[in-house]
């Protein structure tokens, strides 16, 4: 299982960690943004950690930034490889569970863009259908 925290404004010395108990075993993993696996790109503001083990149904976990608890809760996990994504909200300070690993303002833009894309698709379809009807009319 992968944990991703979107936090652009963190200093390089910051150390986000995830604490959990996985089938009875306590685990603490440091999230990194250094470009080494599982992290994709160094310094992109997405801090990543990987937890491995047998399949679990629920996972009580705590996401911390140094000593500050950003998020704590229980997640239910479907089977297979899962990614839990969080967005750091500096106003809190805390983190939000999110669908994409983006900082809170960018996440709002992403959500709006996704809706705009779907509406754009609907518009494209509507215009295409009108074109089909117009084609019929000309014939």
């Amino acid at each position: 299982m992968q944990v991703e925290l979107a936090a652009e404004a963190l200093p390089s010395t910051a150390q986000p960690t995830v604490h959990t108990t996985w089938l009875g075993a306590q685990k603490t993993v440091v999230l990194r943004d250094d470009g080494r696996l599982p992290d994709r790109r160094a310094g992109d503001g997405t801090w990543t950690a990987q937890l491995t083990g047998e399949e679990v149904r629920t996972l009580s976990m705590q996401l911390q930034l140094d000593e500050v608890v950003l998020w704590a809760g229980t997640e239910t996990l479907p089977m297979g490889a899962q990614t839990l994504r969080f967005a750091h909200d500096v106003r809190g300070p805390r983190a939000w569970r999110s669908a994409v690993a983006l900082p809170v303002p960018a996440m709002e833009v992403a959500e709006a863009s996704s809706v705009a894309a779907m509406l754009g698709w609907a518009g494209l379809v509507m215009i295409s259908m009108m074109g089909l009807i117009g084609r019929r009319g000309r014939r």
């Binding site: 108990t21 089977m79 779907m118």
Partner: protein, 549 residues
């Protein structure tokens, strides 16, 4: 294309759309109700004839007078020789294909031609509501060929060649829709209401008997259902009482129509009622293509009303404190999930869209093929099916096998009292019973914590164990007939987990631990010298003692 070929096409699409249901190692579904549905399938054969179950709600037992789907109850009983998960998956795949095929048949009945008639099937069975039902774990909602067939026969009642059988079949298919789910029946009733002007048209030269028979059967079935629902008493699923502001809901509803948002599957629910943009465009532009005929206009009208109702805001049932039994039904159905009224839109728009596509296809078959591409993009890309689907483990922790007798499952209470957490723990405990087959204290179709012996006893056990004073509690559990206490350790905090294990070990001896089936479990034996004579009586006495003055 022959009817059989059309069905095979839909079966193929259904396999893809519902994936991994056709080849699943787990239980298809992301959220807790999938587990509860598997329990219901497993328990169905033993719920007959009075819908009571002595293996849940131990020690008093439980009555399940208001199941979501009587059709699933019957199917699960008939196919009881299959594993519950197999029935669940079959209903998902075959149900989706059968619903699509029936909608296509309705479109053909109204004049659509293959392959354009397939638009109706895709628009109806591969819609946002269908996606929600599969991801949330209600596969019986996608097994709905009844509604299209109901409309087929209702429309036949409007023709000169109408027969009494058409009237009766209209009623029978309405009843099957009702028995599949009351939510589906509301959409079906809306459809029949919209077709009423055609059915009662005095200018039409046709026999009156079929329409009268249809009306009598539909009304009879509806009244009997309502009477049974009211007679079943309290115990419907609890609402969370959280009704967001009307404007906020309207905005959300409108956005959801376009497609599932990015965050739709993040936590606990995946509710979306997205509609196919292609079907919408074809339906909206149909008046420019389909010039004659009242039937498609009636269907389009019903569809639009259904669409408007489906995006109406959700109103808290508490807004109507004086509502009677009928009001209670409305409160727990229409007002709670208005989006589910959108099934009528999915069917009507799909059928009208297929009729429009047929016209476009006749004129320009090659160009009109783009309609299929668009429809499939809507279903698979915009809805993100089956990518959004998940799977639950179908295995159960082995520690359940360490003891005999009824089990008391122990989970932590959610600090915020979240209904979602209660739903998860309830459905998880119930699912596990499908494998260990021991009696449990859970009420499986309920989320009302006030009624579940499991929740009530769990609080006592946790309180006393944390206080290192659980001996009397274990004696109480012994008098109630429990054979073991199973603690689901993953969900407890480290501090509580340690204290709970120490407290229960002091009272009941060392537990049997297992770390398989996706959970860390500790099963404690409840030692009793003999079988308690009357666990149900002991439970009643204890309840009276805890709730009395």
């Amino acid at each position: 294309m022959s009817s059989r070929s059309v069905f095979l096409v839909f079966l193929g699409l259904a396999v893809l759309w519902t994936w991994p249901a056709a080849w699943s190692s787990g239980i298809p579904g992301r959220w807790p109700d999938a587990l509860g549905t598997v329990w219901f399938i497993d328990a169905s054969p033993r719920l007959w004839p009075d819908l009571t179950d002595s293996l849940t709600g131990w020690p008093a037992g439980a009555h399940y007078g208001r199941p979501d789907s009587f059709v699933l109850l019957v199917l699960s009983t008939v196919f009881a020789f299959l594993p519950p998960v197999a029935i669940y998956s079959l209903v998902s795949v075959v149900g989706t294909a059968a619903s699509a095929w029936a909608a296509e048949r309705l479109a053909v009945e109204l004049g659509a031609e293959a392959p354009w008639s397939l638009v109706a099937g895709v628009g109806f069975a591969l819609c946002g509501l269908s996606s929600t039902a599969l991801i949330e774990g209600y596969p019986y909602l996608v097994l709905n060929p009844w509604m299209p067939w109901m409309v087929v026969h209702a429309l036949r009642c409007t023709r000169p060649a109408a027969t009494p059988q058409d009237g009766v079949l209209t009623g029978i298919f309405f009843t099957l829709t009702l028995l599949s789910s009351a939510w589906l029946a509301l959409s079906a009733a809306l459809l029949l209401l919209g077709l009423t002007p055609l059915l009662v048209d005095r200018r039409a030269k046709r026999p009156a008997l079929p329409a009268a028979l249809a009306a009598a059967t539909v009304l009879g079935a509806g009244l009997i259902y309502v009477a049974l629902f009211v007679a079943a008493g309290d115990g419907v699923r609890q609402t969370d009482g959280n009704t967001a502001a009307v404007l906020s809901q309207l905005r959300l509803s409108l956005v959801q129509l376009a497609g599932p948002g990015l965050g739709v599957d993040v936590r606990w629910h995946s509710q979306t009622h997205s509609i196919s943009a292609t079907v919408l465009a074809l339906a909206v532009l149909a008046p420019a293509v389909l010039r004659r005929g009242r039937t498609w206009k009636a269907l389009l009208g019903v569809g639009l009303v259904s669409l408007l109702l489906s995006i109406s805001p959700r109103i808290s049932p508490s807004a109507f404190p004086g509502a009677g039994p009928l009001g209670q039904i409305l409160a727990s159905t229409v007002l709670r999930f208005p989006a589910r009224l959108g099934w009528a839109w999915a069917l009507c728009a799909g059928v009208v869209g297929a009729l429009a596509a047929t016209q476009l296809g006749r004129r320009s078959p090659k160009t009109a093929r783009v309609i299929f591409v668009f429809v499939l993009i809507d279903a698979f890309v915009i809805m993100r099916q089956p990518l959004r689907q998940g799977e639950h483990l179908a295995t159960v922790p082995s520690a359940y096998g360490a003891h005999r007798g009824p089990v008391l499952d122990i989970f932590p209470d959610d600090a915020q009292g979240s209904p979602a957490w209660l739903l998860w723990t309830t459905n998880l405990a119930c699912h596990h019973q499908t494998v260990h087959h021991r009696a449990i204290a859970e009420h499986c179709l309920f989320t009302s914590d006030a009624e579940s012996p499991r929740v009530l006893l769990q609080r006592v056990v946790v309180d006393r164990a944390l206080a290192r004073d659980a001996s009397e509690t274990m004696a109480l559990l012994g008098s109630l007939g429990f054979g073991s206490v199973v603690v689901h350790l993953d969900a407890f905090s480290e501090t509580d987990r340690t204290a709970l294990l120490a407290g229960l070990t002091a009272a009941a001896g060392p537990p049997v631990r297992s770390q398989d089936g996706g959970e860390d479990i500790a099963a404690f034996s409840v030692l009793t010298n003999s079988t308690p004579p009357n666990p149900a009586g002991a439970w009643a006495s204890w309840r009276a003692g805890t709730t009395g003055p």
